[in-house]
Each structure stands twice: as C-alpha cells, then as structure tokens.
Symmetry: C2
Subunit: 253 residues, 2 copies
C-alpha cells in the first residue's frame, strides 16, 4: 500500500482547497448548515472565485455539498441508499413498486432503444414516464419503453394518455411471463426534462440505470432510469443477504 512514491507534484490549488474544505465540513459544520457565499469563501482562502468553485463542484459531485442558485451552498446529508436490484424478478408496476406513473404516450423511441427492443426504427412504442421519491425528494426519473406487441390486449377503452393510461399499460405488462432481466449502470448528465423533474440544472451528473425485461425470448420492455448522482447510492441486494443499514457512512477517504 502506502509506498507509492509521492513524486514532487505541486498539488493544484483547488485540490488542496477541496481537502481543507472537506475537513472543515467534517469538523465545523452540521448537515443543512449554510456555508458563506462563494465570493467570501474565495476571498478568505485568497483564491479566485473560479478556483473556489472548482473545489465546490467536486465536493458537490461527491455528495458533500448542495448548491442552489439564489439560495446558497449547504452541507448535504449522507447519500440515501436506493434499492435497485430487488431480487424477486417482477415487472415494472408490480405491487410494492417504488415508482409512480406520471404519464404515457406513444412515440418513436431513440434508435438505440429501438435496436434493443428489436422494433423498427420508425415504429412507435408506448413510453411510460415514472418518477421515484425518497425521503420526500425526487431521486429518479424513468422512461419505460414498451413495444405494442408486449401489451396486445390493451383496450381502446383505456385513457389515451396520462397516468391512467400508464397504469393500464403496466397492468397489461403483468400478464407476460418474466424470464429474466438485465441491468447496466453508467454515468450520464441530465437532459433538460429529467433535470427539471429531479430539481437540478441540465447537465447535472446522473447515474443511468438501463434495465431490460425479457419475456418470450426477447426484450419485452426497456427502462432507462436516471438517478441523481449527488444524492443517491444505488444498492443491489443479492441472494442470501441479511438486511443492512449503511447509516451515515462516508466513503473510505
């Protein structure tokens, strides 16, 4: 371990600043407390505001700070654990689902989605929008892509759009036999619409969870969920695990 030669690099100012601020947060501030404004902080540390901001940005990325335009910078609470890999295989919309249907429409999906669904690139699919809350705050926004062939018995009687339509589509989905599922997590930045729903600015870092639901030997539904990367820790429960409460841990420094 500790024997990597420190190679006389002049540490960037913002990096050092970040360390100093991080320690100050641990010892001198409590959750929710408001920090001095950026101009004052920069002056206090004798750096330009842009440099100070570079340090704050990193701390926000790590979930230590929360900044809101017009308000100020506050000390963030520890990240909330958000369960993603519920072990029991279940379709979206099954009982106990953490998501809330928001809307539904029929439209042509992005090419990458169409390819995964093996629908034609010009073929419209059902797109269900859902949102997920935790501790009173929005933590994720989801787009669920469902080919018409996955919900063949959807009646024209159901509402043509809106939450009622979304629920109808999800209800039909339950009729299929779920054969397996498949998940991927990657870093992304929030699109304008997701950002608004997550109460962040466009471009904010998000964890993008792509899930494929398999039935009848093909992808019967595809979910693209964007989680706030600053406030969320995605948890995956796997077989045999007892219940865990990570509590107010910090990442190993």
């Amino acid at each position: 371990m500790g024997t990597t030669q420190l190679e006389s690099v002049p540490e960037p100012k913002y990096w050092h600043l970040k360390t100093v601020l991080s320690e100050a947060l641990d010892s001198e501030f409590s959750v929710g407390e408001i920090l001095p404004n950026e101009r004052d902080l920069a002056a206090r540390f004798g750096v330009a505001r842009a440099t100070l901001r570079q340090a704050l940005e990193q701390l926000e990325l790590e979930g230590r700070l929360q900044r809101r335009r017009g308000v100020g910078t506050t000390v963030a609470p520890p990240r909330v654990g958000v369960a993603v890999g519920t072990e029991e295989q279940a379709w979206p919309g099954a009982a106990g689902d953490a998501w809330q249907p928001v809307d539904c429409a029929e439209a042509v999906p992005p090419a990458a989605v169409a390819d995964a669904l093996e629908t034609g690139r010009d073929e419209p699919v059902h797109i269900v929008r859902r949102s997920r809350m935790s501790h009173g705050q929005p933590v994720a926004a989801e787009l669920l892509y469902i080919p018409a062939s996955s919900v063949p018995d959807l009646t024209a009687i159901d509402a043509p759009s809106g939450p009622a339509r979304a629920r109808a589509v999800l209800r039909e989905l339950q009729h299929l036999d779920l054969e397996g599922q498949d998940r991927a997590v990657e870093l992304g930045s929030a699109r304008a619409d997701d950002a608004k729903e997550l109460d962040r600015l466009p471009g904010a870092p998000v964890l993008v969870v792509t899930s494929r639901f398999l039935a009848g030997g093909r992808t019967a539904a595809l979910s693209v969920a964007t989680y706030r990367a600053d406030t969320c820790r995605l948890t995956f429960k796997e077989s045999g695990g007892v219940e865990i409460d990570h509590g107010p841990e910090r990442r190993a420094s």
Copy 2:
C-alpha cells in the same frame, strides 16, 4: 411526455455548444480521431476557451471524448461493459475472477470500513490491492479489506507483503462459507493513488462499487472498487438472462 412547457430559458452557450459538438462527433468524426485543439475550437465557435472547455468536460463525462494532456482530444470508443454482479456467489480470488492481485499490507482501515467490518477503529486488517483490466486498459482499482479473523489459518510462512501475500490471503478466504453479498454503487472522484492506477488525473469521476461479503453472520470482507466512469458501463446479470451484447449503442438521447 413532450408537453413540458419550454419556459423561454436562454440556453447557456456551453450547453448549445455541447449539442453541436455531439452531433458533429456522430456525423463527422470516427473513433480515435483527434479533434482540433481547444484554442482553435474556441475561436471557431466564437467563444472563450473556458466556455469551450465546459462543453468538452461534459462530453468527456458522458464518455464521448477522451482528453490527454500534452496530446490532444480524441473521440472515445463506446463504453465497455464490465460485469459486476456475477450471479454465482463467490469470494474474491475464486477461479475466473477478473481481478489481478497487486499488493497486500496490514493497516488500520478508514473508520467507515472498520464500522462495516465491526472491527475496532484501531484494529489493523489485511488490505489487498487489486486491479482490473479490460481491452488492455485499466478500468478499475480495488481495495479489499479483510479482518484477520476471516483468515485465521494464514501462516507466517507466506510472504509478508506483495502479490504473493495477496494470493495467500485470498486463498485462505475461500475456506469460509459465503452466505451472501451486498453491493452499492455511487459516484465519487478518484483519489491520487487510484487516479494513477487508472491513468487519469486525480479527481476524475469514478463509479465506486462497495461490496460486502457475508460469512458466519457478519461481514467477512469488504471491497471498495473504483471504476473509470468515463469508459465503463457496469453490467449486472440477473437470473434467467440470456447473453446480451449491447454493442456500440449510445445512451438514448
């Protein structure tokens, strides 16, 4: 869907720039190609270099670009899928493990780790350092924390440190009954040592995967793995899934 009122926001320049560049990348550049340098690009678009850099930063975060000091900015290949949730429960170091032992030492872990392991905060544990490659590039660095009580039969004959020691510790670990495991993913920034191993600058965005290995009713080992967020897509295979090849997909725009 599409009915969120567009509220007359003047789109920031860097955001618009990002969009323009993104489309240019799709249509006019191929993977590995070198972009014009930042000063030229900024001049070409009529913006300050800092603004141009803000756009490039986002594109790099999304895995579209790769920037290397002294070299230039190149078009990044699609993110590589890296399997994380191998369904078969197995201890680190089991056959077929994707990780390569690098080093091993005995030291006091960070407080958060000690708490998770339920060891005393001053009690040293084995710390195994491992690295993971994919397509010839380093994609992740890991610290594995193993309490002495989890490997009681570790003999003094084994090497006191280095890769041989690491292998010895891992070998002993296999003797325990793995009862379950537990995983979490969150966004972080690379520490200096991880950054060097991942061939990135300190502070680079990483996906931190924390895994707990349960045996004998407690946490017998804890792994903290940091994956390059720019180049990796973490994949989780779950029950029943057929093999999937996401291929050169892009995230749904």
